[in-house]
């Protein structure tokens, strides 16, 4: 097993990690004169939980935004499933099977929980305008079929009781869970989580960790996550990328990273003499 080149190994807890799913090659992202990401390469293997960590302003969220198509990097290539990805709009990326959640919850406040999760199925719903106008027949059958899948996810995330509640009325922790449900409803190949545990208490963090692990285990979803809680990151993830000031300063298993001098310096600071 070689953590850096990745691919095709079995983890200590017996999960199979497949081939490289996504590869970022020499990504550089600039906003005017500010270099947010500087020449970063890393890969994500099928079935693994990959964490991106780093101090504030390191460029982690920008990296996720590059993957999900919000930003197109000035330099570098994104490879997905062995093919180079041309510059894309976010909705095209979503249709390739990449879903994500946001650091600040981005739910549709005017809709019920059920409708929010149903929006996650939009990439799978194909009924045309005309058949939806008539409703009976194709549109209704499609709605029912997708509703069944959504109900399974609602069960999985234990949000049955709030199905019909408008999202605006929910507390923060549940909103996070609904957002995860929406992303999961798309049945993504790759799921990007931007700080899924920010602002949660210990119990909620435990719940969320459990969901992330069983998502990965049961649905085989590949997960890339950004998180500040080091305990969670080290426990959950198979491999960790560490960023600082837009540069990659570490990459490897949690143990590798923990013992990496550069990473320790970035987090704890270094004495200048």
């Amino acid at each position: 097993m070689n953590a850096l080149t990745g691919g095709n190994y079995t983890t200590a807890d017996g999960r199979k990690i497949g081939n490289t799913m996504m590869e970022m090659k020499n990504i550089t992202l600039r906003f005017g004169g500010v270099v947010a990401i500087k020449d970063i390469s890393f890969d994500i293997n099928e079935g693994e939980i990959r964490a991106i960590i780093g101090p504030n302003g390191a460029g982690k969220s920008s990296m996720l935004n590059v993957i999900s198509g919000f930003y197109n990097p000035q330099e570098g290539e994104v490879w997905f499933h062995g093919k180079k990805r041309p510059p894309m709009r976010p909705y095209q990326v979503a249709r390739q099977g990449i879903a994500r959640t946001f650091q600040n919850i981005a739910l549709f406040e005017g809709m019920s929980v059920l409708d929010n999760v149903m929006t996650g199925r939009l990439t799978h719903m194909k009924a045309g305008m005309l058949s939806q106008m008539i409703w009976k027949g194709k549109a209704e059958a499609e709605e029912t079929a997708n509703r069944e899948i959504v109900e399974k996810i609602i069960d999985f995330l234990e949000i049955q009781a709030i199905r019909k509640t408008p999202v605006g009325r929910l507390p923060y922790g549940l909103k996070k869970r609904v957002e995860l449900a929406r992303a999961l409803a798309a049945e993504p190949k790759l799921l990007l989580l931007d700080e899924p545990m920010a602002g949660m208490n210990v119990e909620e963090k435990e719940d969320m960790s459990r969901f992330i692990l069983s998502m990965n285990d049961e649905f085989g979803t590949t997960i890339a996550l950004i998180e500040h809680d080091m305990g969670v990151v080290m426990d959950l993830s198979d491999r960790v990328v560490v960023m600082d000031y837009g540069k990659k300063i570490g990459d490897g298993t949690p143990d590798d990273v923990r013992n990496n001098q550069e990473v320790i310096d970035a987090y704890l600071g270094v004495a200048h003499d």
Binding site: R89, F102, F108, L122, A127, M129
Partner: protein, 358 residues
């Protein structure tokens, strides 16, 4: 007490998804339909048709149209009057060019033409939002009115610059022109409003509607779950234009009979329909009806009270009517910004428990 959902279980997702999942609601809806189709046509007279029912039904279609755009997709439009004019002039040109074709074809066709025009004016929405989009649609309003005034082809070179609806019938029943009976006017509008409401409801509960609402609530998140913002916004403009076009076509051909664009489809019409949507409730089909009813009935009601009941002079009553309805709109926006539809929802929630407090 009488409004109960206990014992009323949905056993399939399709059942849970229907428009009125609660049995009581469903029967009430059938009852309203039955009265509208089977009772009112036989007792309606000219006054009730022209003052109340026909404008209410036509404005309800327009309000549904604008509600889809503004209430469901979140794109503000101040061009409704101009878009209704497109429907009116389209149906006029169609009626005069193809007199042998049924009005049941012309009116939806006028709706389709309007859908095309509105989609065109919806293109700026891909770049601009909110107030700026409202101003862009305002430009559409003024441009369209100017266009229909300036180009004589649209009003068939008539000397007055007016358009007037020739007499047309559907299966032998005259529905346009001065000889139309009250019940026929009412019936044709009722048929269109029923279909419009059904289609609007079906669209808004399915994936198209969710795309619109996703764009309305948070366009960035909508894009990240795979909604193409351009397609979602333009379909909202198109569907909205379709309904507004039908409303405009009926407004001219069935209700007015003769129209002059600046007077019948001016900016005040845009605001009137917008008020209907806001007062009725954004993002609610029922709200469109409630808003249309409120805005159509209020002036009639006030006039009857001031002139009929109190015997005040008509000019004073007319001015007072403006003051009162303006004031009521403001009061309404402050007290219940989510409109009549929200009041209705709250009433239903209360009724579920009544008469028990918990």
């Amino acid at each position: 007490m009488f409004y109960r959902e206990s014992g009323d279980f949905s056993t399939t997702y399709a059942e849970d998804n229907q428009t009125f999942p609660i049995k009581f609601d469903r029967y009430r809806y059938y009852a309203v339909l039955a009265v509208a189709f089977l009772v009112i046509p036989f007792i309606i007279n000219d006054y009730w048709a022209n003052a109340v029912f026909v404008p209410f039904l036509i404005y309800a279609i327009a309000a549904i149209g604008l509600n889809i755009l503004t209430g469901y997709c979140g794109q503000v439009s101040l061009g409704t009057g101009g878009f209704m004019a497109v429907g009116a002039y389209a149906v006029y040109k169609l009626m005069t060019a193809f007199p042998e074709v049924s009005m049941l074809v012309h009116v939806p066709l006028a709706g389709l033409i309007t859908a095309g025009v509105v989609t065109l004016f919806g293109l700026p929405s891909l770049r601009i939002k909110g107030f700026y989009l409202a101003v862009a649609t305002l430009a559409a309003q003024f441009f369209l009115v100017w266009l229909f005034n300036k180009v004589p082809w649209f009003y068939n070179y008539s000397a007055s610059g007016q358009i007037s609806a020739p007499e047309r019938d559907v299966i032998g029943i005259i529905i346009t022109g001065p000889n139309t009976e009250a019940w026929a006017k009412y019936m044709i509008c009722l048929i269109f409003v029923t279909l419009a409401a059904l289609i609007a409801r079906n669209l808004t509960r399915g994936s198209v509607g969710r795309k619109w609402m996703a764009i309305r609530d948070m366009d960035i998140a909508a894009e990240i779950i795979g909604v193409n913002p351009m397609m979602a916004k333009l379909t909202a403009f198109a569907v909205s234009g379709f309904f507004i076009g039908i409303a405009g076509a009926l407004f001219f051909s069935v209700y007015l009979g003769a129209a002059e664009v600046g007077e019948s489809f001016g900016i005040d019409k845009s605001f009137l329909v917008l008020f209907m949507v806001i007062i009725g409730g954004l993002g609610s089909i029922f709200g469109s009806f409630a808003g249309a009813a409120f805005m159509v009935l209020l002036p009639v009601f006030l006039k009857n009270v001031f002139v009929g009941l109190l015997g005040w002079p008509t000019d004073l009553a007319a001015h007072l009517q403006f003051i009162v309805s303006g004031g009521l709109i403001i009061v309404f926006l402050i007290l219940e910004p989510h409109g009549l539809a929200q009041l209705w929802r709250l009433a239903k929630e209360k009724l579920r428990l009544w008469p028990f407090p918990h």
